[in-house]
């Protein structure tokens, strides 16, 4: 197998990347496009992070010191939008671009030119979104959930730019998803049946279907906003016979699968890494696949759990409560499987493993609070407080972001042909893991004690915890600068990647030569 994989055809030998900026502007190579996605995502992670720092500085003590409430609202709105649409989603697309062809033995993505277009729409969309800061009316201040009528009748004109940006992001994501599906379905190496695919590929396949299903729904809801705002329709305007609640139904029909779009690839990465460093096969591969599918399916029928306090009819509340509770079953299966993978392994604890183990611990906390909030009557208290803020940040930061860090450290030696500095990476891990808990754990307390989310100021009894939370936030934010340093250092002066990067790593991507040629798997490897 490895001989075919490394055989490079003569005619391709000198066919390297184009020179200069053209290499990036007209990139069709999955590696280059993946790289661009990843750098963009990293830049957006810091932009969104900067907004978060403003939020935490303002909340450092009671009273308003730094920004007025309007700015505060813009900050958390843009923080959410940039992190979701600019950082986490594009980062996973970057991973998909790099890893899927390498892992299934394909020479590239199925549609390289569409790939190029879907990448370039992303920075354009983000620019449209961020440019609102420089316009009259300023950036959106209605939350990343942009509930009508705050985002329609009561929003400044810049909301139309927001709508345009979301449209572009949606087109970009849909094209990216089509590409992923086409690649996985058509370009697998001979012998790689669906049930032999690596977990990361499986989770991305399912994610891609989620994207295709819900991004058009998002496009629909922003289009309705657009016509409400500009063309006299009243989809969401009660005084015109419309229904503001319909906005929330449509939004969350998109929004709930959206959170799984951000987390399923994390499940995939962690399912790759734990077996490598436990030197033991993934426990329950088949049940992992089915659990991922079940989670994806359930994600379409639970949107009402975001709306327990909106006055849904009793039958609706009961239904959404039961359906949401069901998600705990496949999610539990995944967590148990990961624990069983570690059980009786022969573990070592390099940075990817540390981040993955922390992922399992901390994502579990996010999952458990999710279970608590699934209970309708309890959610009447939790809803829209810092408890929910703690919950979804546990799933997204020590969840998705830790998985991204784990995956980067894991595959970086392949990507750039050089090793990162393990010692620094471990320091990065410990700083992140501790500060992220200082940042998010006390949010459970202030939330339970009654602090609403999205407020620029708070009653005095929340002051102590907010100060602790802010300190955690600053440390976490600063530690991420280390990540940039470690990655750049690896690229520029890391030790060349050895033939065997990780002792226990299995899969096609590990059988390629180092440094990685520009074109790989030009002759499909055989999998048996």
């Amino acid at each position: 197998m490895s001989t075919t994989a490394t055989a490079v055809e003569g005619e391709h030998h000198h066919h390297g990347p184009a020179k200069g900026i053209g290499r990036w502007l007209f990139a069709t190579n999955h590696k280059d496009i993946g790289t661009m996605y990843l750098w963009t995502a990293l830049a957006m992670f810091f932009l969104g992070g900067a907004f978060a720092m403003v939020i935490r500085m303002e909340l450092f003590q009671p009273g308003l010191q730094l920004v007025n409430p309007d700015w505060f609202n813009r900050m958390f709105t843009m923080h959410g939008l940039v992190m979701v649409f600019g950082a986490i989603m594009p980062a996973w697309v970057g991973f998909a671009n790099w890893q899927i062809p390498l892992m299934i033995g394909a020479p590239d993505m199925a549609m390289p030119r569409m790939n190029l277009l879907s990448y370039w729409l992303l920075p354009v969309a983000l620019l449209v979104l961020v440019s609102t800061f420089f316009m009259e009316g300023n950036a959106p201040a209605f939350g990343w959930t942009f509930y009508a009528p705050l985002s329609t009748t009561f929003a400044p004109d810049t909301a139309d730019f927001f709508i345009f940006g979301v449209h572009l992001l949606g087109i970009s994501s849909i094209m990216g998803a089509i590409n992923v599906i086409a690649t996985i379905v058509n370009l697998r190496a001979p012998g790689m049946t669906l049930m032999k695919m690596p977990m990361f590929v499986w989770t991305w396949l399912i994610t891609a279907f989620l994207l295709i299903a819900v991004m058009p729904v998002l496009a629909g809801v922003v289009t309705m906003m657009l016509t409400d705002r500009n063309f006299g329709t009243a989809f969401f305007d009660a005084s015109g016979g419309g229904d503001p609640l319909m906005f929330q139904h449509i939004f969350w029909f998109f929004g709930h699968p959206e959170v799984y779009i951000m987390i399923l690839p994390s499940f995939g990465v962690v399912s790759q890494i734990l077996p490598t460093f436990a030197r033991k096969p993934l426990f329950g591969y088949a049940s992992m696949v089915y659990a991922t599918g079940a989670i994806a399916f359930l994600s379409f029928i639970v949107w009402g759990h975001h709306m327990f306090a909106t006055g849904l009819p009793l039958a609706g509340e009961l239904y959404f409560m039961y359906a949401t509770m069901l998600i705990a079953v496949p999610t539990g299966v995944k967590i148990f499987n990961w624990a069983a993978t570690m059980w009786r392994g022969s573990m070592t604890f390099e940075a990817p493993m540390l981040f993955s183990i922390a992922f399992v611990f901390l994502f579990t906390i996010g999952g458990l609070t999710g279970l608590m909030m699934a209970m309708g009557p309890a959610d009447m208290q939790y809803h829209s407080t810092y408890f929910i803020v703690a919950h979804f940040h546990y799933t997204l930061v020590p969840g998705a972001v830790f998985a991204l860090m784990a995956g980067t450290y894991y595959w970086l030696p392949i990507w750039c042909g050089r090793m990162y500095d393990e010692k620094l990476a471990k320091i990065h891990f410990w700083l992140s893991a501790i500060s992220v808990n200082v940042l998010f754990f006390p949010q459970h307390f202030v939330g339970l004690a009654g602090m609403p989310r999205r407020v620029p100021d708070y009653p005095l009894q929340f002051a102590d915890f907010n100060m602790i939370i802010s300190i955690g936030g600053f440390v976490y934010g600063l530690s991420q600068l280390m990540f940039v340093y470690i990655v750049v250092k690896a690229i520029r002066s890391g030790k060349p990647t050895p033939d065997q990067v990780w002792e226990g790593a299995k899969g096609l991507e590990w059988e390629l030569p180092n440094p990685l040629p520009f074109h790989t798997h030009t002759t499909p490897p055989r999998v048996d």
Partner: protein
Amino acid sequence: MSANGNRMARRLAWLGALVPALFVSQVANAAWDLNLTQGVTETSQTVFDIHMTLLWICVVIGVGVFGVMIYSIFTHRKSKGAVAAQFHESTTIEIIWTVIPTLLLVVMAIPSTVALIDLEDNSASDMSIQVVGYQWKWQYKYLDEELDFFSNLAASSRDQINSDPTGVDNYLLEVDNRLVIPAGKKVRFLITANDVIHSWWVPDFGWKQDAIPGFINEAWTRVEEPGIYRGQCTELCGIDHGFMPIVVEVKPQAEYDAWVAEQKSALKAAAASGDREWAMAELMEKGEEVYMRVCVACHQANGQGIPPAFPAIAGGAISTGPIKGHLDQAMNGVPGTAMQAFAAQLNDVELAAVVTYQRNAFGNEMGDMVQPADVKAAR
């Protein structure tokens, strides 16, 4: 590697143990500021019980899963010479850990279902109050009495937002007019909004309910214990979302009745005071009070507004234009913007005073005034 690895393991274990430990310590000293409140109603007590049951179930699951992982991290490490087993599935165990959580869920669903049914039972109430969310205040209409009023953030809090709030009693949790309800009565709330979506939440009652324009949501409470209960708006509703608290005062029936009578006669007196001519100084004084209560959130204390969303009053085209246009703006608002129609919220005296104030404060110096009689005529 081995020594280093051991140190790492210790640290990791410490982290793993810290998390459930924090959970447990939280429960141990369940002070108000760490945990959910038990509240003062049957509903809030039920919700609290469900919450604690859930919390303990989560702690047990967490301790179980984390315990296994931590044990594994300590023992099954290469540095200790662990040799990897090669098992990778077990139908029995996979069935077990699918079925047990499912059963646990069924057990948890039962009390939640009962509680939800009770929460939604709005029948047989003793009285009804309509709650209307506005940017950024609440209106309370007693549907069985001729009584309604607005409830704004108290000046004691607002004055300190930009300076030093430490030392302010109930900072951001005090209002000018509290909602008063009788103890021991089932009070039904009809909750809606005038502009954007708000949400009405008093944690001690055990629920929150969104206030949605065009919809009327029902909710209810019965508080046995007289007292003062505080909460906040919990749905993002624009700039001053953080500054529209809710304060409910529960009084024994007799005191409640007295309060209602007093409110009604005060309203009558206020309306009657519009029958006479008002002097400039009186109007300015009253106007400042109204402005600082009602208009300040948008137009700001210095009259500069927050352009472009909220225009300045100082030097404003309308505020320094003809009286008629200015009064019209204040009374009828501007549909489709945050500028509300204050004719429905303020009486003749208040409207006359606030318009006069705007025309003569912030350097506007128009020198003219509006009389309550003018407002009455314009209605």
